[in-house]
């Protein structure tokens, strides 16, 4: 499991999925709508993905398609994918989609992710390479985490290229100390 310590993987696994319990479970207070601490068969609960995934493997629950991948999103992406606010739906849209696709049994999530990524990728790279300053444009707030990583990688490669051409100071303040300097007391 190469991603055990990976922080992004852990946060992706925390995404909420709606499940239906096929078997009862007692002694757990995970269902907020039930009065006792038992979960009945057939009750609909919102669980984080890591729990839903394991329970599905043991056939205790069945997963539904999450709302981030439903028909509305599909239509919006087909219309104009570059403007769809994917981050508010799911900050790890692509990763989560890749994980969900084999479990939910919906055959069209894969092509949806691919088409969305293809059209947005071009936008992300052109903006990153041509932005004259590093101030965040309004475009950045609708990008998912993976796209933001791409954007930053492109920006840093542009900055490195410019530095190589123009020459800049060789030594820089260590990045861990942050950009803002604390005022001396």
């Amino acid at each position: 499991m190469a991603k055990y310590y990976d922080i992004d993987d852990i946060i992706t696994d925390e995404e909420i999925v709606a499940v239906i319990f096929q078997k009862a479970a007692s002694g757990v207070g995970i269902d907020p709508s039930s009065e006792t601490d038992c979960v009945e068969v057939g009750s609909k609960v919102e669980l984080p993905f890591w729990l839903a995934h394991e329970l599905q493997q043991r056939q205790a629950v069945s997963m539904n398609i999450p709302t981030s991948f439903n028909q509305n999103t599909r239509l919006e992406i087909q219309a104009d994918s570059a403007c769809v606010d994917l981050r508010s739906r799911c900050p790890f849209f692509y990763e989560f989609g890749c994980k969900i696709a084999p479990l939910v049994g919906a055959r069209n999530i894969g092509p949806l992710l691919l088409s969305a990524f293809k059209s947005r990728y071009k936008e992300v790279l052109t903006k990153a390479h041509t932005a004259a300053f590093t101030a965040a444009s309004k475009n950045l707030t609708i990008l998912t985490k993976e796209e933001t990583n791409l954007y930053e990688a492109a920006q840093s490669s542009m900055a490195a290229f410019k530095k190589w051409r123009m020459g800049g100071p060789r030594f820089q303040k260590a990045s861990i100390l942050g950009r803002k300097r604390k005022s001396t007391e």
């Binding site: 946060i11 007692s26 729990l51 205790a60 100390l177």
Partner: protein
Amino acid sequence: MYGRKACQLVKELASGEKGQLTPYNSDLFDQVIAECSQHHLELQSLIRKMQEEGLDVQTTRNADHYGALIHHLSLVRNKRCLMAYMYNRAEIIRSLIWKVGPVLPQQIQEKLSHTEEEYFKKHSGALQSYMSRLDLDLTVDMVPPKDPYIQVRVLDDIGVVLSDDKTTNFARHSMHFLKRTDAEQFISRGLMEELTS
């Protein structure tokens, strides 16, 4: 419960900028450990209940079994979040020695826990002893410079510093012409800046 607090801990680590440390959140860390004990207790009580009913714990799949399973999974998830938190912080601390040098600046020191400071000191000590055996300073710049001397402007009050054969007074805003190796450690700590004409 059920991994939410542990995920909060991990998200806090991710919320800092890339490569930056957030202050060590010992409260949340202890709370997650307390949750682990709670999950363990509930797990044990459910297993005991199954044993009292005379069911075979290994193969029965009743409601208690699934409840115990959920507690077990939450425990494993909490463990993963705690381990990832420590592991990623340790990685950043190890890289600190190469970037900032063997002495921690104050603003970073207040973000570390006590054990992390110990870890830094021991790691830095190990590196120093290795370098002294090789008789080579590995933390300097890898690229050979064009000019051994460099012009710097002092940003912070460093005071009088002994270097090789002379003592220089590094007052704020003064400019000096120094050897590159001497200036490097001050620049990486943000106390001086290089002047490129």
